[in-house]
Symmetry: C2
Subunit: 237 residues, 2 copies
Amino acid sequence: MNLILLDADEWQADGQAHIGDPRRLRHLCEVHRANPGDELTLGRLGGGIGRGRLAHLDAAGAWFECDALDQPPPPALDIELILALPRPRMLARSLEHVTALGVKRITLLHTRRVEKSYWQSPELHPDKIHQHLLLGLEQARDTVLPEVRLATRFKPFVEDCLADDIAGRRALLAHPGMPAACPRGLEEPATLLVGPEGGFIPYEVEQLLAAGCEGIHLGPRILRVETAVVALLARLG
Amino acid sequence: MNLILLDADEWQADGQAHIGDPRRLRHLCEVHRANPGDELTLGRLGGGIGRGRLAHLDAAGAWFECDALDQPPPPALDIELILALPRPRMLARSLEHVTALGVKRITLLHTRRVEKSYWQSPELHPDKIHQHLLLGLEQARDTVLPEVRLATRFKPFVEDCLADDIAGRRALLAHPGMPAACPRGLEEPATLLVGPEGGFIPYEVEQLLAAGCEGIHLGPRILRVETAVVALLARLG
């Protein structure tokens, strides 16, 4: 937690802030070992960041006196991610990684090799997703939540949504065996598509290429989805 | 498990192979849903890879008939990693990620902000480390184990070992606030140094720069160690 991220109801215009949830209080006590008078970085969800002094801390909450929270959060990464829904634990970690890296739009997509049961996972509950996004923001000192969208059917998504999604963007389909290596340091907005463990099936690859995606690979090594997503975003970004 | 990695005693020169450990048998049954006659990719630890047919599978083991396991594993990444010892769960995942990415030498280093208790973790037992390296190799279809070295004291390591370690290599110290951005697509051998959560302390940064390391940063976002290591290796590699 490199940033204490304040919801609208945790912050007042006069610079007083208060948090009361057990997770962050425990983190303040056990990891920061914070004491009254300590300076910490705070930010307003969707807004600016700045410094605040811990005025009081007890089991009921932490009270801060903040400077103007008027510094901008770090720039977003202009790469949108379309990711075949990973298994629940990998989803949780992947959401945190990509949020920390600055992705602002994440589409979780059904594909043939996504197990249908994954769509029933409690990890997909909006509250759980929100929690993982917050962890990613707190890590990277960002304040701007990514948008997460669920696309539970492959064909309608590709036929009805993908063209609009990638209009004006470079669309890159990461898939083993594609002819081109993953480009480095893109200068233009992009959309990155990453398949499930086991990959997209050939029909899906055909559909995505026909829809205007460019096939890229990351070399001969097969990586776990969470490793591949970070590696691809780091190389592209 | 994209590769069944055979120890010397699991493989015979006539192409017969046998595995009997519960972890891989369960994976074969539950994930691969393998049946006799199925073709799978096998490799010899430290040697080549190739295809094998599952001849028999029961609770006691799986028997394969292999072709010549004579294809080379994927090329190694010529980047060595010197990593401040992460907390145990992050260590486990980081070892898998960097092994899958092809790193062949990993030094786990003590620094001021590494909690001393981490050195007592069961995750540092050679058998546990070996297990995580195997998981990384199985993922990436590699056969060549990385060497893992423990450097439990910072100053002796920097004074007595680092110069030899980085001779003929580009040594890159990843640390927030360093003046240069992380370079992309290195052509030369390199050694990457990554600090703990909370970073190297200023004294350590000074010592590492004085020892010939070049300071680099990955932008304004603070990343978890496991995310940062993958992002740095992907950008450098």
